[in-house]
Symmetry: C2
Subunit: 525 residues, 2 copies
């Protein structure tokens, strides 16, 4: 399917539906030009219908075999690839991101889907535990078996900065579908065309697999109406969100008013502090930092917005190199005019804070909405006093905090809010200092990395893209990597259930070859 | 230590502290007599000090070896046993529970502690995942390793109905300590003496293990002041609660107002519906139900408050047998005068609902606060209309719902709120009907059991004592069994961390012999 055959609709199950609300067009942020076709927002009626279908589909979908769900995820990946160049060019036009970046992002998206297929085939995702009956005990112990089941229909919010990998068929959707949860996506209004193309790929896979229509829907609407209605709907049993702190906290607040609490996995803001120990300087630290800071116009959740650099000659040299690089940099188009304006406003606010010095600014880019990269500096003492210096600026701006000794650094680490990541740069001679930092930082972050940069989040088994509040609303999981499937499951015990109706995972003969824990020990270990 | 040497104090770390608030005495509910010694409530100052100590202890405690924490848990169990008869007699005096029951409950408590010691030694609790570096990939993949770390200080609320197994050193405390979280207990004011004795046992184990004082504190105070202050305190990172729906929801509301959201594991109310299929009758179903209903005066979270019985002769015979048993039963002392009054009021409210018939009532017991068991009946049609018929009555009261066919039963199952358990009684000839119910009920409950009764919750690996709201505030875990440790952990990734400072669990040589997942596959499988 192409956009010309999909003009301005949304998918509610298999039905292509025209919204009855306000109409809008996507905007190319590089030119501020509106793109065809016209889209129309949905409202409560579309939410109702999508959730009704999802609820209806749930029992059938959650009881598909792991092999069937694996093949379904792979079919989505294949169908996304089959969309070909139109997906890339439409994504680029709607986001201002380069085609090469979007081609990479498509690869990340299909990799994620296929990785969850592997998780389903590997067979430990359902967490099977069997405690056999002990009829000779006093009193006799019954037979007790546990599996994790899918939570129910999940609302997923598309994110502006990853139109593919964190949107309609992104990580939240892939992990929810893998768990057996139907998904209702609230499309990000910056990329309705990209969303529609991806939705056609997902819907085709649903249909080809013979699954019920409600396994996937994709709604257009405003965050305030459709987004709120989705999170408040009693049929929705979990929420996945990647975006701003204000957006995430608003959804958390909506969920908190529900009679039935549900998990809300909102991945929000992070300044991703970098700690440069003197032993790592001069090295290539300034160059690496500049690359990570300006990558994709700084529009990553893991963009390094805060860097601690020692006072003295080596630190001065780092700063001088960085100033040179930033000053000669050229801005790239940001995702939307609104995001660009927020970046400019955020940088102005930071510059106005007492003790903050603007030390470097690049040039604006040639297109629209392509602001200059900016770097600021402040002392560690001042940083310790002023909480606002920890606020995220989404984009290519960073604050250098100059520190005089390890105590300052440790003090700053202790004062940090929750973060997605923290990075430490050091040589082997400094591992003792680094260890002191590590013990503090692991309480504050989801991922600690050494001698590298936080951008570039591997999609793998050991990845945590998460962390304590305010980085996310729930630190107990990750939105990237295979552990993400656990967000959409809950455990159920089966006691003395007749073997004829035991769920397949729990049957003695283990037909799906699940990894099982018998009396507390993993079978085969 | 004995109560005479522990008069009226609370433990804040190693310090025995006299509260500065109102004084009170425990009351023996069987006689309404006040017991010595006098206790004094604490307030904000005690909360501050306990949380400060817990925060201070956290880094040391969470990095103890699994073997050291296992030995510590075992020492707590040993010390509780060493309290001897005084613990049992004091527990009985404060709760009205029989000494035999409390002796069993002590066994359950020490079993839990020792089971978590086994979990720590088994070595999969920290969820280690290692994705080795792929230097030859483009771009090279870094080395990424994941472990779960402890969340931080945990607030645990003692429960009235299990002065030992769900209170100071109960399941929440055992699982939090196993995870490496310091614990601050808010004592249930019905059993301050029992709490003090148990606290002396825990504190001795902390001291003997050379652990920091803040690993365990135990506060006396009102729920509204001390309980609220604890849950609102920024130093508290998770909450474990077992009690009433109103109490649990109040804590959830306090937590929802925190700037930093935290997990609240409130195990609240459940009617634990029982579905009797005709094929299981007459059998011994009525006798079994009567035993489960009246056990411990019905004061279990898993007490069966709702039973679906077929219309017709077999169902009539079940009811007749049950009426006979209940009518000749004698009430047992309930935990407190307040709980007794709530039971009486709840039964009156139920009796007043249109369509409800009181069909049997036993006699009150000889002591104080020992109300009669009661059974009511209503039609399935009426049940479907009236939500209030699902309200829990804590105590030995139950509602029989008479149904005419499977459709009525399925309709009733679909209309149920979230529950801790559901039970199905059927013969082999009825497994198809039972399967239809099972598929619905697994969406509604934490545990499904066949041809048995929900009371008697095994402490084991495959147990789920949890379930969807309103049974609990978070369906993703359990408060009984070894899976409970996961409530108090979160994952952290370590990327390219120098081997000299890698956490022990993540070191190549695997010194603690952890179960590890390498590139997505469990090592050794």
């Amino acid at each position: 399917m192409t956009l010309s055959t999909l003009s301005g609709e949304m998918f509610i199950g298999f039905d292509r539906v025209q919204g009855s609300g306000d109409t809008f067009r996507a905007v190319n942020p590089a030119t501020n030009e509106e793109l065809e076709p016209e889209f129309a927002l949905g409202g409560d009626a579309e939410v109702e219908e999508a959730v009704r279908l999802a609820t209806e589909a749930f029992d059938t979908f959650r009881e598909t075999t792991p092999e069937d769900r694996a093949a379904f995820l792979e079919a989505i990946a294949d169908n996304i690839e089959a969309l070909g160049d139109e997906l890339i060019s439409r994504g680029a036009a709607e986001s201002g991101l380069a085609e090469a970046r979007l081609t990479n992002e498509r690869g990340r998206t299909t990799t994620q889907l296929r990785l969850f297929a592997e998780v389903l085939r590997e067979g430990s995702y359902s967490g099977v535990r069997i405690d056999p009956a002990l009829p000779g005990r006093t009193p006799p112990r019954p037979d007790i078996r546990l599996r994790k089941i899918a939570l129910g229909p999940v609302a997923v919010f598309g994110s502006s900065n990853f139109p593919l990998a964190f949107s309609n068929a992104g990580g939240d959707t892939a992990s929810a579908l893998a768990a057996g949860c139907p998904v209702v996506v609230k499309v990000h209004n910056a990329h309705p065309g990209t969303a529609l193309l991806v939705s056609s790929a997902v819907t085709k896979a649903v249909r080809d697999a013979g699954l019920p229509a409600g396994v996937y829907s994709s709604l257009l609407g405003s965050g305030r109406s459709v987004g709120t209605a989705l999170v408040a709907h009693p049929g929705i049993k979990a929420v996945g969100f990647t975006g701003s702190r204000s957006g995430g906290l608003a959804l958390v607040a909506v969920a908190a008013k529900r009679p039935e609490p549900i998990p809300v996995y909102a991945e929000m803001s992070s300044t991703n502090p970098v700690f440069v120990l003197e032993s790592s300087l001069p090295g290539q630290v300034a160059e690496g930092f500049f690359g990570s800071l300006t990558l994709g116009s700084g529009q990553f959740c893991t963009n390094p917005g805060l860097i601690f650099v020692p006072e003295g000659a080596a630190g001065d040299q780092f700063v001088a190199t960085l100033v040179g690089l930033v000053s000669s940099s050229v801005g790239q188009t940001m995702l939307t005019a609104g995001i660009c304006q927020s970046y400019v406003d955020g940088a102005s606010r930071l510059a106005a804070i007492d003790g903050v010095t603007s030390i470097a600014e690049g040039s604006s880019g040639p297109g629209e909405n392509a602001p200059a990269a900016q770097v600021f500096s402040v002392s560690a003492d001042r940083f310790a006093e002023e909480r606002a210096l920890q606020d995220e600026i989404f984009g290519a701006a960073s604050l250098i905090v100059r520190y005089s000794d390890l105590d300052h650094l440790i003090n700053a680490a202790e004062g940090l809010e929750g973060q997605l990541t923290a990075a430490i740069h050091c040589a082997d001679t400094d591992v003792d200092a680094a260890h002191k930092l590590l013990v503090i930082l692991e309480r504050k972050v989801g991922r600690i990395l050494f001698n590298g940069w936080p951008t570039g989040v591997e999609v793998t088994h050991a990845m945590v893209h998460g962390g304590p509040s305010p980085a996310t609303s729930d630190s107990r999981s990750t939105s990237v990597g295979t552990l993400a499937i656990e967000r959409f499951q809950r455990p159920v015990s089966y006691q003395n259930v007749p073997s004829a109706i035991l769920p397949v995972e729990l049957q003695d003969s283990n037909p799906w070859n699940q990894v099982r824990r018998i009396d507390g020990r993993i079978e085969g270990l």
